[in-house]
C-alpha cells in the first residue's frame, strides 16, 4: 500500500465525502470526517518522510505513462504543503462540531462536513497533482465547495461575499484554464514536468508570455494578492468561523504553492524571472499589499475582518520573499506558508470560540474577555505576537529568513520597510489586547464562560506548535530549505 500513498492522500477524503451523505447522523459524520482527515494527515507525514529520504515520488494514475496519463508527482514542496493542509484541516475539524452547533442550522450539518471534506480534497488534489489540467479540476472542486461553505454564514452578508467570491474565483480559475490552454497549444502536453522540458524551446513567443500572464493573474486572484484581494475580507469575515479558520490557514497557501509551482517548475526560473518583469512587479505589489492591508486592519471593527486583512498583509510577505528568486527568499516564503498556517489557524479558531460564547466578534464585544476567557484570549495574543514576529514564535523565524534574504541581496531599504510593516501589526494586535485586557466589559453584557475543551484542545495544539516551531526550527527550516533548493535545482 505504501506505493499508493500519493493517491490515497487525495482519495480518502474524497471517498469519505459521499459516504458522509449515507451516514446521515451529524455526530457520526463529524467523527467519520475527522478520521478521514486524520488519515490524510498521517499519510502526508509518511509521504514527507518518504520524499525526504528517497526523493521525488511519481505515481501514474491508471497505469498510463506520464504525458499520456495523469501523473501525481510528489516532491519536497508538495509533501510540505500536503502536510500543512491536511494537518490544519484535522485540527480545525476537531472543533467543528461544537462551533457549527450555533452557527449552522441542524439540518445542514451533514452537508457542511461533506463540503468541508470536498474542499480538503480539492486542495490536496491541487497540491499533489503533476498535471496542469488536473489542477484546474481540483481547483474547481475546492472553490465550489468553498463558495457553498462561505454562504453558510449566519448573516446575509455571507451570501453576498460568497457571490463575489464566486465571480472572482471563476474568473481566476478560467484565467488559469486559458493559460493552460495556451501553453498546451504551444507544447502539446499537459504534464508539468513534460511542460518544463518543452517550454524553453518556444519560450520567446508572445503566446507563452500571454499564457504566463493569464496563469499568474489567475493564481494571484486566488491567493488574494494586492490589488486582487478585495474579495477576501468579506469572504473570511462572514463565513462560518470554522470555515474561516480552515481557509485562512490553507486556501491561500495552496494558491501560493501554485504560484511557486508554475513559475519555478513549469515555466522555469530563467523564463519567469528574466523574460518578464516579475521581480519588480511582485516586490512592489507585495510591499504595497503589506502596508495597505495592515493599515486597513488597524481600522477594522470586526475582529474577523481585522485578521482577514492581516492575512492579506502576510501574503504580501510571502510575495516579497518569492519575488527575490533566491533560495533564502523562497525558503522564507515556504516557512511563512507553514508558520502563517499555524498562527492564523490558531487565531481564527480562538475567534470561533469567542463567537461560540459571545455570539459576536466586534472589537467592542471583546471588552473584558481577557478575564472571562483567559485561555482563549491568551491564545489570540500569542497568535498575534507570532503575527508580529516576536522571537520564540514561528512568526519570528520566517521574518528572520525574509530579512536575511533581503539583506543578502542588498535590498536593505525593503528590509526596513518590512520591519515597519511589522510595527503596523503591533498596532492592530494591540487594539485587541487593549480591548480584551484594558477595557471594562460593557454594562449590558452578560458574563461569559471559558470556551469548551473541544475548542481549547485544537487552539492550544496550534499555539504550542507556534511556540515549538519557533524554538526548535530544525524540522520546518530543514524541509523548507530542502524544498527551495530542489526547486532551484530543477530549473537551473
Amino acid at each position: 500500500m505504501i506505493a499508493h500513498l500519493p493517491i490515497l492522500q487525495v482519495i480518502i477524503p474524497l471517498m469519505a465525502a459521499p459516504i458522509c451523505l449515507m451516514l446521515k447522523r451529524a455526530q457520526l459524520v463529524w467523527l467519520f470526517s475527522l478520521i478521514a482527515s486524520g488519515l490524510a494527515f498521517a499519510i502526508s507525514i509518511l509521504l514527507l518522510q518518504q520524499v525526504m529520504t528517497s526523493g521525488v515520488i511519481s505515481y501514474e494514475l491508471g497505469g498510463w505513462q506520464a504525458p499520456w496519463g495523469i501523473e501525481y508527482r510528489i516532491d519536497k514542496l508538495n509533501a510540505f504543503l500536503l502536510l500543512i493542509v491536511s494537518g490544519i484541516s484535522t485540527v480545525v475539524l476537531f472543533a467543528a462540531q461544537t462551533s457549527i452547533e450555533k452557527e449552522i442550522p441542524k439540518n445542514k450539518h451533514v452537508y457542511f462536513y461533506i463540503l468541508y471534506l470536498l474542499s480538503l480534497t480539492g486542495m490536496l488534489g491541487i497540491v499533489a497533482t503533476g498535471d496542469a489540467f488536473n489542477v484546474f479540476v481540483f481547483l474547481e472542486i475546492s472553490s465550489l465547495s468553498a463558495y457553498a461553505l462561505i454562504a453558510m454564514g449566519k448573516n446575509r452578508q455571507a451570501l453576498w461575499a460568497s457571490y463575489q467570491y464566486l465571480i472572482m474565483g471563476t474568473i481566476g480559475a478560467t484565467f488559469i484554464l486559458i493559460g493552460i490552454g495556451l501553453i498546451y497549444q504551444m507544447t502539446g502536453t499537459l504534464n508539468m514536468y513534460d511542460l518544463s522540458q518543452r517550454l524553453p524551446e518556444v519560450a520567446q513567443t508572445r503566446t507563452v508570455f500571454a499564457a504566463f500572464a493569464f496563469v499568474i493573474v489567475g493564481v494571484c486572484l486566488k491567493l488574494a494578492m494586492f490589488p486582487l484581494h478585495l474579495w477576501l475580507p468579506n469572504a473570511y469575515a462572514y463565513a462560518p468561523s470554522i470555515v474561516t479558520a480552515f481557509f485562512a490557514a490553507t486556501a491561500t497557501k495552496v494558491a501560493v504553492y501554485l504560484l511557486i509551482r508554475f513559475t519555478f517548475s513549469v515555466f522555469g526560473l530563467s523564463f519567469s524571472f528574466t523574460t518578464v518583469p516579475l521581480q519588480t512587479l511582485f516586490m512592489a505589489l507585495g510591499l504595497i499589499g503589506i502596508f495597505a492591508a495592515s493599515t486597513s486592519a488597524i481600522y477594522q471593527r470586526n475582529v474577523k475582518h481585522l485578521f482577514a486583512y492581516s492575512s492579506i498583509a502576510q501574503i504580501g510577505y510571502m510575495i516579497v520573499g518569492f519575488s527575490l528568486s533566491t533560495v533564502t527568499g523562497l525558503t522564507a516564503t515556504l516557512l511563512h506558508l507553514f508558520n502563517h498556517a499555524l498562527m492564523k489557524g490558531a487565531i481564527f479558531l480562538a475567534l470561533a470560540a469567542v463567537i461560540y460564547r459571545v455570539g459576536n466578534i466586534e472589537l467592542n464585544n471583546l471588552r473584558g474577555l481577557g478575564r472571562q476567557m483567559p485561555l482563549t484570549m491568551a491564545a489570540i495574543v500569542i497568535g498575534g505576537l507570532s503575527l508580529i514576529g516576536v522571537p520564540l514564535t514561528v512568526g519570528f523565524v520566517s521574518k528572520w529568513y525574509l530579512l536575511m534574504a533581503l539583506i543578502e541581496q542588498g535590498w536593505w531599504p525593503v528590509a526596513v520597510l518590512i520591519l515597519l510593516g511589522s510595527m503596523l501589526a503591533v498596532v492592530y494586535v494591540w487594539r485587541i489586547v487593549e480591548a480584551a485586557y484594558f477595557k471594562a466589559p460593557l454594562d449590558n453584557s452578560s458574563p461569559v464562560k471559558e470556551a469548551p475543551m473541544s475548542f481549547l484542545i485544537p487552539i492550544w495544539t496550534l499555539i504550542i506548535a507556534n511556540i515549538y516551531f519557533g524554538i526548535d526550527t530544525r524540522l520546518s527550516v530543514q524541509v523548507a530549505e530542502a524544498a527551495a533548493q530542489s526547486l532551484f535545482g530543477v530549473s537551473l
Partner: protein, 566 residues
C-alpha cells in the same frame, strides 16, 4: 549538576506563576524568597556557558556567566529583593507580577550570551516595566506609559535590525565585543543608547519614571538603564565616542535637575547624570575605567534606589512630590529623613559612602588616560550632583520652609527596605574591597588614599559652602512653584548674563524637543487609537465585484503590456 543550567531569570518567571496562584502572606513570602533563593543559586554557579542550543543556523547561548554578567546579576538580585520588600504592603497583583517579570527580564538580559536572546529580554524589559507605570491607573500615566513603551520597543527594533546586519556580516549571533566599524555596530549602539538615555534620547526616562507608582519607580530606576550600561560595557569598551557622550550626560541633566520641581523627576535627571559616569568609564575602556563603570553601576542601583524609595515614601505618605509643596517633614518622618540623607551622601560621593569608592575610579581613569577636560566636566558634574541630589532633595522634602504637612514615617517594610539599602551604601563605602573582589579586573585600586579623599572632600566642602552662602543670601535653592521653565528673576541675578542666555537656549531647545516629541507621540497614539473616520470608511468599504473584476483586467493588461514591451 543540572541546577547549573537553570538561568537566573527562570526562578523569577516561575515565581510569578506561583505568585498568581497564592494570596496574602504566602504570596509575600514567595516574593521575598524568590530573589533570595535565586541569589544563592547564582552564587554557586561557576563561570562559563551553561546553556546552548541551535536556532536557525546559529548557536544561541541564553545563559552565559562571566565576571561582568555575574556582577550585574548580584546587584539585580539585591535590587529586586529591596524593591520587593519595599512594596510588600501593596495588594496590587499587576504591579507584583510586572515587577517580578521585570526583574527576571533584566537578569535574562545580562546573562544573555547572544544578541537574539538579548533582544528578547530587551523587549520583555519594556513590556513588563510599562505595567509599573500603568499601575498608577490614571490617564496621564497611561499616556506616559504608552510613550515609554513606543520608545522602548523602537530601541528593540533597532537592536533587531542591528542584530540582523551583525548576523549577516559575521555569521554569528554571539554577544561579545562589537565595536563601531560596521553599520551593525552603529545600529546596536543606537539601540543601547536609547535605553541608556543618551542625550536627546533621554526624554523617555524623565517623562515616564516620575509617572510610575511610588514602588514602581524603584524597580524602574534599578534595571533598564543598568542593563544598557552592561550591554555597552560588553560591546563597546574603549569606544571613544562614549567618553564624550558620557561626559555630556553627566553635565546637561544638572541644569534641568536644579530647576525641576517634581522631586522624582529631579532624581530621574540625576539618574542620567550617574549613568553618564558609567558611560564615560566604558568609553575610556581601561581596566580601571571599566571597573569604575561597573562598580558605579552596582552602587548606583543601590543608592539611587534608596533615594527613589525615600521619595516614594514621601509620595506614599503625603500624596505629593513637588518640592514646592513639601518641606519640614523631618519632624514627623525622622527615619526617612536620615535614610534619605545616607542616600544623598552616597550619590554625592562622600568618603565612607558607596558613591565615593566607585566614582573616584572613573575620575582617576579619566586623568590617567589624559582626558583632562573630561575630568573637569566630571568634577563639575560631581559638584552638580551634590547640589541637586545631595542637598536639594533632602532639603526640599524634609527641611526648607514648613509646608505644614504632618505625615508619619512610612510602613515598616518600606523603612526596612530603605535600611537595607542604606546599610549597603555605608558598608560598601567603608569596606570597598568586598565590592572590588567582584569586579571584572584586578587593579589593586584603593580609593582611600590622601589625594582622593582630600580632593573629594574639598570639592564637597566648597560646594556646600556655596550652597550655604547662596542659601543665606536667599538666592538658592529657588523655590519654583511649577515645572515651568521660565527664568526666575532671582536666578537671573545669581548667574552671569551670558551663561544664563546659553542655558535658556538649552532649556528652550530641550523643552521644544521634549514637547514636540511628546506631542508627536501623542498624536500618533490618538491617530491609531481613535478611528480616523475618513480613512476608516475608505479602507473598510465594500467593493462591488465589478470593480474587483476591473482590477483583474487592469492587472492582466499591465502584465501583458510589460511582457510584450520587454
Amino acid at each position: 549538576m543540572w541546577m547549573i543550567e537553570i538561568p537566573p531569570f527562570f526562578p523569577f518567571f516561575i515565581g510569578t506563576f506561583i505568585l498568581l496562584c497564592t494570596r496574602g502572606m504566602l504570596r509575600s513570602a514567595i516574593m521575598i524568597l524568590v530573589p533570595i533563593v535565586s541569589a544563592l543559586h547564582l552564587s554557586m554557579i561557576p563561570e562559563g556557558i551553561h546553556l546552548q542550543f541551535a536556532f536557525l543556523d546559529y548557536q544561541l547561548t541564553p545563559y552565559r556567566v562571566d565576571k561582568l554578567s555575574i556582577m550585574f546579576g548580584y546587584v539585580f538580585h539585591i535590587a529586586a529583593l529591596i524593591g520587593i520588600i519595599y512594596s510588600l504592603h501593596l495588594r496590587d497583583t499587576m504591579q507584583q507580577v510586572a515587577a517580578m517579570l521585570y526583574a527576571g527580564s533584566a537578569l535574562g538580559a545580562v546573562f544573555a550570551g547572544d544578541l537574539l536572546t538579548l533582544f528578547v529580554f530587551w523587549e520583555l524589559l519594556a513590556f513588563t516595566s510599562v505595567f509599573l507605570i500603568w499601575a498608577r491607573r490614571t490617564e496621564r500615566s497611561y499616556h506616559a506609559g504608552m510613550r515609554y513603551l513606543i520608545i522602548q520597543v523602537l530601541s528593540g527594533v533597532i537592536l533587531l535590525v542591528g542584530t540582523l546586519f551583525y548576523a549577516h556580516e559575521n555569521n554569528t549571533l554571539a554577544f561579545g565585543y562589537i565595536g563601531l566599524d560596521s553599520i551593525a555596530g552603529w545600529l546596536i549602539l543606537i539601540a543601547f543608547g536609547i535605553k541608556c538615555a543618551f542625550p536627546i534620547a533621554h526624554n523617555w526616562l524623565t517623562d515616564a519614571y516620575p509617572e510610575a507608582t511610588a514602588t514602581g519607580t524603584v524597580f524602574l530606576s534599578a534595571f533598564t538603564t543598568k542593563v544598557a550600561v552592561y550591554s555597552l560595557a560588553r560591546a563597546y569598551p574603549g569606544a571613544e565616542i562614549l567618553v564624550y557622550i558620557g561626559a555630556a550626560m553627566t553635565c546637561f541633566p544638572i541644569f534641568f535637575a536644579v530647576i525641576e520641581n517634581d522631586l522624582r523627576r529631579v532624581l530621574a535627571y540625576s539618574l542620567i547624570n550617574q549613568v553618564g559616569f558609567m558611560v564615560v568609564g566604558i568609553g575610556i575602556g581601561t581596566a580601571l575605567a571599566i571597573n569604575g563603570a561597573v562598580s558605579h553601576a552596582f552602587n548606583d542601583v543601590i543608592f539611587k534606589g534608596l533615594l527613589f524609595m525615600s521619595m516614594g515614601a514621601v509620595l506614599h505618605m503625603t500624596g505629593r512630590i513637588n518640592g514646592s509643596d513639601l518641606g519640614g517633614l523631618y519632624k514627623t518622618m525622622p527615619k526617612t529623613t536620615i535614610l534619605c540623607i545616607v542616600g544623598a551622601a552616597s550619590i554625592s560621593a562622600f568618603p565612607l559612602f558607596s558613591g565615593f569608592v566607585s566614582k573616584s575610579m572613573v575620575m582617576s581613569a579619566a586623568l590617567e588616560e589624559g582626558y583632562d577636560w573630561i575630568w573637569l566636566m566630571l568634577l563639575f558634574a560631581s559638584a552638580g550632583v551634590f547640589h541637586h541630589a545631595g542637598i536639594k532633595i533632602p532639603y526640599f522634602a524634609f527641611f526648607a520652609h514648613d509646608s505644614g504637612i504632618r505625615a508619619n514615617d512610612p510602613p515598616n517594610n518600606m523603612l526596612f527596605a530603605m535600611a537595607i539599602a542604606a546599610a549597603l551604601c555605608i558598608a560598601i563605602g567603608i569596606y570597598p574591597q568586598a565590592l572590588y573582589s567582584l569586579l571584572p579586573y584586578d587593579t589593586g585600586y584603593n580609593p582611600y588614599d590622601a589625594t582622593h579623599v582630600l580632593a573629594q572632600t574639598q570639592l564637597l566642602f566648597f560646594s556646600a559652602l556655596a550652597f550655604v552662602w547662596l542659601n543665606l543670601k536667599g538666592l538658592y535653592p529657588p523655590e519654583l512653584r511649577s515645572t515651568h521653565l521660565d527664568f526666575d528673576w532671582v536666578y537671573r541675578r545669581a548667574m552671569p548674563n551670558v551663561l544664563q542666555k546659553v542655558f535658556s537656549v538649552i532649556w528652550q531647545i530641550d523643552r521644544t524637543l521634549r514637547d514636540a516629541m511628546k506631542l508627536r507621540l501623542n498624536s500618533y497614539l490618538s491617530y491609531f487609537t481613535r478611528k480616523n473616520d475618513r480613512l476608516s470608511v475608505l479602507l473598510s468599504q465594500n467593493y462591488p465585484s465589478g470593480s474587483m473584476a476591473m482590477w483583474v483586467a487592469v492587472v492582466l493588461a499591465a502584465y501583458l503590456l510589460l511582457s510584450f514591451i520587454k
